[in-house]
């Protein structure tokens, strides 16, 4: 079980980084924007495959931020934020690939979608997986015969 403020702290850094990417891309600094965006894709992959607790922001939160905060009122299962990292990875990876093959606007659109998800997670404690996981189950993509998503 993890402190629910950890993933929200990480999502805030992610949101800021994505805003920088969008700003650079709109300003014509395409290479810089693409490089930072690729770093973000790698960070999402880290969170999705190694688990949210082993994500660099999670470690930063645990060692530097959490000792300065009061104890959490409630602990949370790490599965939903780890699932959300996987969703972030999928969206940003598609955006990065389309950008690299030259689809105009792919980077800005993918970064904007990921920004909105990270912002909602950080500011409003929105749980993306709570809706998206069920939609994937209903579409028959996940959860057949009780198979786990993670």
């Amino acid at each position: 079980m993890i402190d629910p403020r950890g993933p929200r702290f990480g999502a805030a850094i992610t949101a800021v980084l994505l805003l920088v990417v969008i700003g650079l891309a709109l300003g014509g600094a395409t290479i810089a924007a693409t490089v930072i965006f690729a770093v973000q894709v790698a960070l999402f992959a880290w969170g999705a495959f190694a688990g949210i607790q082993r994500h660099p922001y999670g470690i930063l939160f645990k060692n530097i931020v959490r000792p300065r905060l009061q104890a959490p009122t409630e602990l949370e299962d790490p599965t939903p934020p780890t699932f959300a990292q996987g969703v972030g990875f999928a969206i940003t990876l598609v955006g990065l690939v389309l950008q690299l093959v030259g689809v105009p606007g792919a980077l800005v659109i993918a970064a904007s979608a990921a920004f909105i998800a990270a912002f909602l997670n950080s500011v409003f404690a929105y749980c993306l997986g709570c809706q998206l996981y069920l939609l994937l189950v209903r579409a028959g993509i996940l959860g057949r015969k009780g198979a786990a998503a993670q």
């Binding site: 629910p4 805003l19 969008i22 700003g23 709109l26 300003g27 014509g28 409630e74 949370e76 299962d77 599965t79 939903p80 934020p81 699932f83 904007s112 920004f115 909105i116 912002f119 909602l120 500011v123 409003f124 404690a125 929105y126 749980c127 997986g129 709570c130 809706q131 996981y133 069920l134 939609l135 189950v137 209903r138 959860g143 009780g146 786990a148 998503a149 993670q150």
Partner: protein
């Protein structure tokens, strides 16, 4: 784009996300009227009311909702928790779009109210009072 236009675009993006967040917050945990019916052969109904919770593995607020509902399950009120993966027929029938979703059933199994998202104790007790009074 000029720096001013970029700043404007970023501000518009932040504003959009904020509006989406406020809209989500407004409906989250709110009780709405329910419809449909569940028969005693499908789930074990409580003698006065049933709190039917749909949960999934990827669900941040299912444990907290489970706690609120099980604390309310006294005096013939039962709490039943179903996994969405194992109960896809009920999920489609009641058009469950998020977890947790809680259906409040009366003693006959008629769905009287529906709460999407984390259930707050005050919302639940108001709805239960209404359902029990109507019985």
């Amino acid at each position: 784009m000029t720096p001013l236009a970029i700043a404007g675009a970023l501000a518009a993006l932040i504003a959009t996300a904020t509006v989406l967040g406020l809209l989500w917050k407004r409906q989250d945990g709110r009780a709405t009227p329910g419809s449909g019916r569940i028969s005693p052969s499908e789930i074990t109904l409580g003698s006065t009311a049933t709190l039917l919770q749909f949960s999934s593995q990827i669900c941040a607020y299912c444990p907290a909702t489970r706690r609120v509902l099980s604390e309310a399950a006294t005096n013939g009120i039962s709490h039943v928790e179903l996994d969405v993966v194992e109960n896809q027929k009920l999920v489609s029938r009641f058009n469950i779009l998020q977890t947790p979703t809680t259906l409040i059933l009366d003693h006959r199994g008629d769905v009287k109210a529906r709460i999407g998202g984390a259930v707050r104790p005050d919302t639940l007790s108001a709805e239960l009072d209404r359902v029990l009074a109507a019985a």
